[in-house]
Symmetry: C2
Subunit: 255 residues, 2 copies
DNA sequence: CAGTGGTCTAGACCACATC
DNA sequence: ATGTGGTCTAGACCACTGA
């Protein structure tokens, strides 16, 4: 079933028409693997077949399959560990798309977040800003989740998250019941949605009175506002959130 | 970036001790190529020898050299065009490590920065915060450079940069004379120092009166402060800067 | 046309993790 | 001991570029 010198006269991987027929083999393999992950063939954290096995299955050389896997690794979809294997990325594991989340104190030491405190979880109608962020219609149903991130006795961040009802029905109730440490881990297990990328925008502004009360800081203090759109594997927005951060005791860092 | 790990029975590229002897061959080749680019062996825009030629020169296989070149391409140090060749990136500024720099207006459109305006370039003694950031002694000589980033008729950022005298002697005078668009491009051409990574920390705070005047905003406004340490190839801090950003008209984004 | 990078193969040996 | 990914080789043919 192999071809010695493919490139122009090549087959497609088993029933995968979406890819351009003339795309390089490793690209076709990459896209088929993405398709299979999306289909749920391997859930988050699951181990993929070995390079050798995949090469055999696809009928291509190991080097070709390897190139596809390395690309998926670079894109963050997959974790590869020497001697162990290749695994679908999972928020339950080490996988985290870059974000500002890590909190450091002003001395530079990393601060452990000891608590995620859920304050409110409810279903509401999307207002304009939320609708724009999620690319849904104004007034569409969304789950709104308000969470505090605490470190020691201080509250460092006030997070407000929005999930579209269409993709994540009853997420507000689920979060209220489960109170997960990681929202993205919950999205994986409950909805089989993998967040692969986040787009973040940063501003400084003055706190609102409500936020000041939650953060236990003086009114009119400056705070950092991070606005995040989280994208699933297919590139569709799944979550929109704002993080209001106190930065006199803490600072935030790219990661 | 990709994974790497040592192999054991390999030689070193011609007289290149700086690299760890046990690093993979393609890594050694990559580092030697970087060294040669920094040395000026090929200027910006110049064509590198072909893969085949380099493979012969280094005494390694074409695949190994190719892997090094592809990595340099991914890092932006080099441009590769099929059928043409491999070229050193024309603007040294093409080698841009991630930063918050890109500025967007509140509508989401990218704002072109039309001007870098140098306000002050002088030699001073490092104060505590600067010394800590550059890992040098308090009181050591540093070049202090104050620059405004303007977009249209508005000033978006006030940048204050510090370069250690030991690594970049008379940088303040050089910058005053050259007024470069990119400081890192200047570091490359004047001192053969390549910035490969930046570490950034973010805070919100109130503007000082001096900054408010430069940014033409009201006193006591909230601003974003980004503190950056720039690291050279060897991982040594070469520059420490603060960027004070106005964020009512603009916002900043990871990139 | 000759030369370049891009793709692909089929092996080899290594370091590493797990059992 | 077995199986995994990581490195490296030495070839092949392709598509594209320019003279």
């Amino acid at each position: 079933m192999k071809r010695s010198h493919p490139s122009s006269t090549n087959r497609i991987v088993p029933d995968a028409p979406p890819s351009v027929p003339s795309a390089p083999l490793y690209r076709q393999v990459r896209e088929d693997l993405i398709r299979r992950v999306l289909k749920g063939e391997w859930g988050p954290g699951a181990m993929l077949p070995s390079e050798k096995q995949l090469a055999q299955d696809y009928g291509h050389s190991q080097g070709t399959v390897r190139k596809a896997l390395m690309q998926l690794f670079d894109e963050g979809l997959v974790i590869r560990r020497s001697g162990r294997g290749t695994f679908v990325a999972s928020h339950a594991g080490q996988y985290k798309p870059a974000s500002f989340h890590p909190i450091y104190d002003n001395g530079g030491a990393r601060v452990v977040e000891d608590a995620s405190l859920y304050v409110r979880c409810e279903r509401i109608a999307a207002k304009e800003r939320v609708a724009a962020g999620l690319k849904i219609a104004v007034g569409a149903g969304v789950s709104q989740i308000l969470r505090l991130r605490r470190s020691g006795s201080r509250t460092a961040v006030v997070e407000t998250m929005y999930l579209p009802e269409e993709l994540c029905p009853d997420a507000y109730a689920l979060v209220r019941r489960e109170r997960p440490q990681s929202l993205y881990a919950l999205l994986e297990q409950a909805y089989n949605i993998l967040i692969t990328d986040v787009d973040e925008r940063v501003r400084a502004r003055l706190v609102t009175d409500d936020e000041a009360a939650l953060l236990e800081i003086a009114p009119q203090s400056p705070v950092l506002e991070i606005e995040r759109t989280a994208l699933s594997l297919g590139g569709h927005p799944v979550e929109w959130r704002t993080m209001v951060c106190e930065t006199s005791e803490f600072y935030y860092r790219r990661s």
